[in-house]
Symmetry: C2
DNA sequence: CTGTTAGCGCGTTCAT
DNA sequence: ATGAACGCGCTAACAG
């Protein structure tokens, strides 16, 4: 016991001496490049590996040495150069997110979900806006591959219908998880939102309110979401024993002009629909303006339910009966979770090809009380 | 002439032979790690430096060798590992953007500006949401420093009033450019938006419309923008020969409850203001709802002008006379431009401390026609 | 307990 | 025209 105490005492004396000595020679090298373990090693006349280990408090290094190293490191303002480590580990602790547009709340909220989740794992997120251009999407994928991101999350452009640019990533062991706008394939990891639950709630709500002619304003033909909406619309009509009537189905390319044309097609007829499912809230905004301009009263002459559940409705005087929430934040969070699972599997060299991670969450109708 | 042609002819024969030979032995190593120049070198019995040069079409390498290298590289699916290069160059071709929240259109549009601009330079953008938490901001800065980003763009949290965590980056030669929410310091690079131009337009518009009592709903006391708005408000009143009246000045922490309290303070008095400058469009949304609920008519009993110029107003029935646009996209683009200038200077070792890059752009009032 | 060596992938002198 | 050797910053296997 006494011996041990003595040892500690002695150690402290030694340390103090060194510390003082060190402080005197402190000449911070503010000149240019950052201090490295090599410099610490030189200053202390020890090897770089000793420094490395000391910095990590490796048990095999003596207390005295460890403390001296820490001291000098601090003096020099040393901080580990992670890019060296990343390089060595062949990892970047960065994931890429490719979304059509940051300007759309749906996607910025998704990005939010990714960022929140990734942040907890000390992962960085790099972003790429495809702006719904297939070419840009390809470029971004290439770029992210070049940067050797550890994984990629993607919501497809409206134009994307081939997926070679993604398959190519397999070679680099870069896992990829799709969300919301996902490929029509089975051999992928993805999270998407099932529109049936929400749309069924919507159509039923219309039916319960006595509506018989329930129209649809759909999106661009090439978008997967469009076909999906149409099928589900038919299905929901059937489930409510309503006939299909192509006169009350319109579509839009999502441009303002087209949105207006679409709703005009529906209301400019004798037997106009009294209720309409609308592709999304943006289209609906144009529809409402058009309907009003035509002298019709929303929620009386014609009722709407659309997709998106934008926060703005809360402040609008005229709003739909409801909107169908697709949980972009949640979708993105789950997708990120999937991605980390895949990255983990990669790290462990788990090449037993994990089963495809897939999840389809239910959409949900959110009612807006009448004002 | 003839000799040269012969040489070419011969060369081609040789190449063809090799190509065929190579194709036969093509056994793509799909197993695990990516091909490197070393493997190409081994396969061709040349040195890595030769491969490296050939890949860059260095003139000193013979045509034949160059083509063989390219051929094998293609077969192996070789692609340069940029993280090795980044590591060597001590660069990452990545910039960080720190913003309070992705959910706010103002900031997501700013991010958009950064992304667009950075994309043109083949730079990547990593994001960090401070969520208006000083602690988070500090953590994100640390994290970005660890990742050795080449530069950082920041819009401060509402809480930030000390800047040591940024000063610290100087040591790492990581330039910083602030935008919109900038520090109250002189020795920084920044882009911000001058509210005076827009507010003066607004107050003048009110005055022209005959308003004498022009109130103000301001933001949280600790936000720089708040003090600024107050000063400019006073200045604009003065410029229009209007007296200062503290009864028609309120403030809010930006929570919904507080927004409502603020507008209530103004309208629950005998001599209520007939026009009000509002901190931003979000606050105004609550104000409008409150005012209506109180039985007042917007743009008749009371008029508003606020800051933000949200796109939603286009679709609203009740909206302010105007909103003051602060050009987040433009601010962010300029800030990114500044950042690249600084990064460039860094690359050239220009340590002559470039003058501080600073720009203040004018805000602008955007009128909304009455519906 | 500590030092030596090797290697991650690439570009770059400096020789040859 | 080509190769050998070095270095970027760090970790780790191996050798005392």
């Amino acid at each position: 016991m006494h011996k041990k105490q003595l040892l500690y005492f002695f150690t402290i004396i030694v340390l103090l001496n060194q510390l003082v000595a060190a402080e005197i020679t402190t000449v911070r090298m503010q000149n240019n490049k950052l201090p490295t373990i090599k410099e610490i090693a030189k200053k202390l006349n020890v090897s770089v590996s000793t420094v490395s280990r000391a910095l990590h408090d490796h048990p095999s290094i003596g207390l005295v040495t460890t403390m001296r190293v820490h001291k000098v490191a601090k003096e020099l303002g040393y901080e580990v150069n992670k890019s060296a480590i990343y390089f060595k580990e062949r990892k970047t602790y960065t994931i890429g997110v490719i979304i059509p547009s940051l300007a759309e709340p749906f996607f910025s909220s998704a990005l939010c979900g990714v960022e929140d989740f990734a942040g907890q794992f000390n992962y960085n997120v790099i972003i790429g806006q495809s702006l719904d251009s297939f070419e840009r999407e390809k470029r971004i994928v290439e770029n992210m591959k070049d940067h050797r991101v550890d994984g990629i999350l993607v919501s497809l452009t409206k134009e994307t219908s081939t997926y070679e640019h993604f398959d190519n990533l397999k070679k680099y062991n870069i896992p990829i998880v799709f969300f919301d706008r996902v490929p029509q394939k089975k051999d992928i990891h993805f999270v998407s939102c099932n529109l049936h639950s929400g749309m069924l709630q919507a159509i039923s709500r219309f039916v319960d309110a006595g509506h018989k002619k329930i129209g649809l304003i759909n999106g661009p033909a090439k978008m997967a979401a469009t076909l999906q909406r149409l099928e589900i619309y038919f299905k929901c009509l059937k489930e409510n024993n309503l006939p299909i009537n192509y006169d009350i189905i319109a579509s839009t390319t999502l441009s303002k002009d087209d949105n207006i044309k679409a709703i005009r097609k529906l209301i400019d007829q004798d037997e106009m629909p009294t209720a309409v499912m609308v592709f999304n809230d943006y289209v609906l905004l144009d529809c409402i303006a058009t309907v009003k301009a035509a002298g019709l009263e929303v929620n009386k002459d014609i009722s709407f339910i659309s997709f998106a559940n934008l926060p703005i409705w809360e402040y609008m005087d005229t709003r739909p009966l409801a909107s169908i929430e697709q949980f972009s934040y949640k979708q993105a969070s789950i997708a990120t979770d999937f991605l980390f699972k895949l990255i983990d599997a990669n790290n462990k060299g788990d090449h037993t090809e994990v089963n495809y991670l897939q999840q389809i969450i239910d959409s949900e109708m959110v009612n807006y009380p009448l004002k």
